[in-house]
């Protein structure tokens, strides 16, 4: 189909004002179904394009930057599919969660008004409806822009285009956190904006160095040109740091627990599984593919950095009481797995790292949705106040267990298919190079999986099993809007776990091509 990728990226952006107006005029249902329809259409476009093999589209842009293009190849397609599939099903989940959140905020604001004005205003239901309508319009409009920003980043074929989309996904993200977050949301939103933007600027520096040296920002030109050694190394490090912030690897993870903890849960469920992994996409595309020689030099450091992140994130997750912060640290740990896989510098290791993105998207998506259901239905996110919920919300419990198994890498979930391939790649390089360091990191990496398992099982035990505290006696299962998306992802993770060819068929040839095997 012509212009498929162009449509997939820009239709959500162009139609986002419509979502806003629909929300304002007709309420959250209309806005939700409209957003769903838009994303359904674009998701179908993306999947179709992915099934048709490598797809490229080029459009004229400015002479200064080069072409404006989209590329869907073996690397980009799993990312693109996961981003849109998650965005699509989270639309449904958003409605009940966000309405719950709007109501909370409405009450808060009323209280503030009362406190400020001192007069007792009678809250009319009419004004609440207006409030919800307006807010849901804004929410879904921002949501669409957020989704298209992520997709645009992974399809971009030009450094400047990549940078623009990279920032485009940041802006709605900032507003979504700053308007509807929990806790000190403005501060946290600003923190998000500041750190990721600081990362993006470092990234841009790297881009400019490469672009100005070879005189073109197009991926196609970078692939073919020889870049001087000194510039390559510095720009590769700048790019790695810039993307490292997005990936929230150790030391640069500062912003992530706050933002994931505070963001409205459907957005956490997009930020964590879909967005931060785009950092990994960047490393694949910009460093592994374009700067192979530098990558070979840096790989061992990626490897160790990844390992440290895995263990550190896991250990910190053990210490959390806030369920969303726990999942946030778990995401840091999972990003460590991905970086670990990238550092393995072998076909299967890299393929495993990309599979980890897919599998983390599925697993963590489910788990964040689980957290959201608990927030809505129980009203607390403190693990120490939970317990024995399996009997109260069986569907959520079953899905959460499947999600946790995916993160732990237990077959038959997709987690296992990511993990064994990843570790195989690490082992392969270790043996081939005869490197003791790599052998040790391989061993420690496997130990980290036991750590992952520990914090996940412990979380499940404290939330879903054990005695039910008295204040939870009347808890009910979440609505279908919330449970059905979880069930879809849970089914998907098992399908991918048994039949990983769905993604491996496209990933492996790409990785072979990149490493020249």
């Amino acid at each position: 189909m012509e212009y498929a990728l162009l449509q997939a990226v820009f239709i959500p952006l162009l139609l986002s004002p419509v979502a806003y107006i629909l929300g304002r005029k007709m309420g959250p249902n209309a806005a939700m179904w409209f957003t769903f329809a838009v994303l359904l259409y674009t998701t179908v476009l993306v999947i179709q394009a992915a099934m048709g093999g490598t797809t490229e589209e080029h459009y004229p842009w400015t002479d200064l930057f080069g072409e404006f293009g989209f590329l869907m190849d073996g690397l980009a397609s799993p990312f693109a599919i996961m981003i849109y599939v998650l965005s699509l099903i989270l639309v449904l989940y958003s409605k009940p969660y966000m309405i719950h959140r709007f109501h909370e905020q409405f009450e808060e604001e009323q209280k503030e008004l009362q406190a400020a004005g001192g007069q007792s205003t009678v809250v009319e239901s009419r004004s609440l409806t207006d409030y919800v309508n307006a807010k849901s319009g804004l929410y879904f409009a921002l949501y669409l822009v957020f989704a298209m920003g992520m997709l645009g980043t992974v399809l971009a074929t030009n450094l400047i285009e990549f940078y623009i989309f990279f920032e485009v996904m940041l802006i709605p993200g900032f507003f979504l956190v700053a308007i509807w977050g929990d806790g000190p949301r403005r501060k946290i939103g600003l923190m998000f904006l500041f750190w990721t933007h600081a990362g993006a600027v470092v990234l841009l520096l790297g881009f400019l160095m490469i672009g100005l040296t070879i005189g073109s920002f197009d991926f196609a030109d970078i692939r073919e040109s020889e870049i001087p050694q000194d510039i390559v190394l510095i720009s590769a490090i700048a790019i790695a740091i810039g993307l490292g912030v997005k990936l929230a690897v150790f030391i640069f993870h500062i912003w992530l627990p706050y933002v994931h903890g505070s963001a409205p849960t459907p957005i956490s469920a997009l930020l964590s599984p879909a967005m931060i992994g785009i950092g990994a996409y960047g490393i694949f595309r910009l460093i592994v593919e374009f700067l192979p020689a530098t990558f070979a030099e840096l790989s061992i450091w990626f490897h160790i950095w990844g390992l440290v992140t895995m263990i550190y994130g896991g250990a910190m997750a053990l210490m959390q009481d806030d369920i969303k912060r726990l999942l946030a640290y778990s995401s840091i740990s999972q990003m460590g797995y991905i970086l670990f896989g990238i550092g393995s510098m072998s076909v299967l290791g890299l393929a495993g790292a990309e599979m980890m993105y897919v599998t983390h998207a599925l697993g963590k998506g489910i788990l964040f949705m689980m957290a959201g259901i608990i927030i809505v239905k129980v009203g607390t996110r403190s693990i120490s106040k939970l317990g024995g919920l399996a009997g109260k919300m069986p569907i959520t419990a079953v899905c959460a267990v499947i999600g946790a198994l995916t993160i732990m890498g237990v077959p038959p979930t997709s987690g296992f298919m990511g993990e064994w391939i990843l570790f195989y790649g690490a082992l392969e390089t270790a043996i081939e190079e005869g490197s003791t360091v790599r052998a040790v990191t391989f061993g420690l990496g496997l130990v980290a999986t036991a750590l992952t398992m520990s914090y996940m099982l412990w979380m499940l035990k404290r939330v879903f099993f054990g005695k039910t505290p008295e204040h939870l006696e009347n808890v009910k299962e979440g609505s279908w809007y919330m449970t059905a998306p979880m069930m879809v992802l849970a089914g998907f993770t098992v399908v991918v776990g048994i039949y990983p060819d769905i993604f491996l068929q496209t990933i492996i040839p790409y990785m072979q091509g990149v490493l020249g095997v």
């Binding site: 550190y312 210490m319 570790f423 999986t449 036991a450 035990k461 054990g466």
Partner: protein, 692 residues
Amino acid sequence: MATETMGLPFEATSAAAWLVWILPFVAALIMPAVGKASKKFTGYVAVGFALMSAVSAASLLPVTLDASEIHHQITWIEAIGLKGGVLADPLSVIMANVVGWISFLIMIYSTGYMKGDKDITRFWFWMMFFIGSMQIIVLSDNLLQVFFGWEGVGLASYALISFWYRDKKKDHVGTEGRTVLGLLDYYAPTHAGMKAFIMTKVGDVMMIAGMLLIFLFAGTFGFKELMGDLGWAEAMSAQGLLVPAFVLIFGGAVGKSAQFPLNEWLLEAMTGPTAVSALIHAATMVKAGVFLVARIGPIVFALAAAGIMAEQFFEIVAWVGAITALLLATQGMVNQEIKKVLAYSTGSQIGYMMMALGVAGLSHQYVDGYTAGFFHLISHAMFKASLFMAAGSLLHVVGSRFMSDMGGLRKHMKKTYAFMWAAGLGLMGAPFITTGFWSKDAIFAAVYESGSEWALPLYGIAILTAIITAFYTTRMMGLVFFGNKSKHIEKMEEEGHHVHEATLSMWVPYGILAVLTIGIGLIGLSAEENIHHLFDEYLDHSFGIHSEHYENGESILPAPLQGLNPVALGSSLVAFAIGIGLGYIFYIGRWVDATKFVNSNIFFYAIHKVILNRWYLNAIIYWCFVVAPLWLARAVYRYFEKTAIDYGMNDGFQKAAGWGAKVVQGTQTGVTQSYLFVFGAGLLFIILILLI
């Protein structure tokens, strides 16, 4: 898609081999829907599918008759060129039948045992998942697929051990309030499930490392393919990686089979419903480890024929088995909970099997130890399933897991009493009439005749363990069925609950197995010879392992016992006599009071205490791998994440920015003189620089 069937009387098809493990999964998948329609019906569905699966396994039996095999493959992960498949050879077919039929009986038992439980659908789902996963392990033709089943049984055990997830007091194990080295020896079901899953995961991590090493060199996970071209083994051996790889895989078996030092999860696994314990201990889970060693053992041994030595692998297997056998048997002597005694006994008996499979590789007659280990697996499966189910009936009737709450039950539960004796005699290895005797004797003989440098110490441990086994089994029988009624039972009777026999659906399954223990025991020697012959052909056929057929010539034994090792036979008889004798003195005849005896001197007291505290192994593991890491993580969280990262970077930047703003703000004084002053100073500075 190659199907090999060679000269069978009637054709066993590959479809049956697939069905054996697919059927239980189908049952599991439809279970939620069935449960929605009618909870009562779930039991029938489960038993029906278990039966169909077992029948499919039985239809594969012709394969064993002439040591042929069915090997059927399909494409699985095309991107990496991996295939999935089933491999039905004599080893896996016998195992599949043991698993299938015993599981079937346990499912019948469960219909009675779990009657009225409101989460029954979940119970059946996981039971069927468990059986299906185990059959994947048994029938897979490659390690990766085995690993699917491997983790599947881990997952099912996690779900079933913590089946009663509400953590009610009656579902705990251990004694409330008792501590060992400052840690509670009292576990909730959810804790126990987690412990089992994580502890076996440690083994699984090793296993996957070993698997990946082999895949790296061989480029395949397939058992058949590994035997094709041995170049991979030579390459690994040259790099010194062959033995580590196989030992790592054995690490997986250590975890799953609860061998030293990963044995501690097995005790807490007793928090699950007793039907689950029976399934874990007799048919699935712990037997998976033994099966895996039986699967890869011949490959390792066959490498020796090709000049690639890996003897250390077998030494490690044998020693791990021996240590576990003794370590766990001792603890069986002192524990008060009936299910825990049986659990210790399982670990100990699995140790025997490992010992036999290990010793096999150290001798020239691989098939002897191999047969002994596998035969013991079969006989253990029968009597242990029977014992567990009978113990479940006791729990059901008495309502307590402590043997001190039982006592004098022989008059009230005659059938259970009789069947427990039969199965218990199997465990003790009662001479000539039980399967346990023949299989244990075969292990003794294999160890004794192995000619390994370790033969003597291993043999000593085996005999000592046999004595202890007979003792604790007698103790269990004595405490439960002899003596006076406990206060607990008297209280129950006062309240109007009378102790009665278990229901039909419960006693029939363990009755069948108890009778089989004796029945097959009576023809035990020829049964063993048949298996021996079968495995001899199988090993020759599939792995090229030849055994030397030699005649012992003159034996001092009478004609029916020809072919047995007189030393092994003699020590086996003596061990049985000593064990049951001591047990009788303390617990059936009650001529000596056991408690007084233990307290009579400091030496006995100390030993008793060490054993009762599980040799402190559990406490040490908890201190090193739970308490210390948590403490470390907390320290890092508090003093690094919260200070250096959070405060240092986030707040630090904020403060720095604020401070910077103030500095800049400070320059905006609005006083013309100060602007002029700075301007003048700057100008002077520039002029100075230019002049220099």
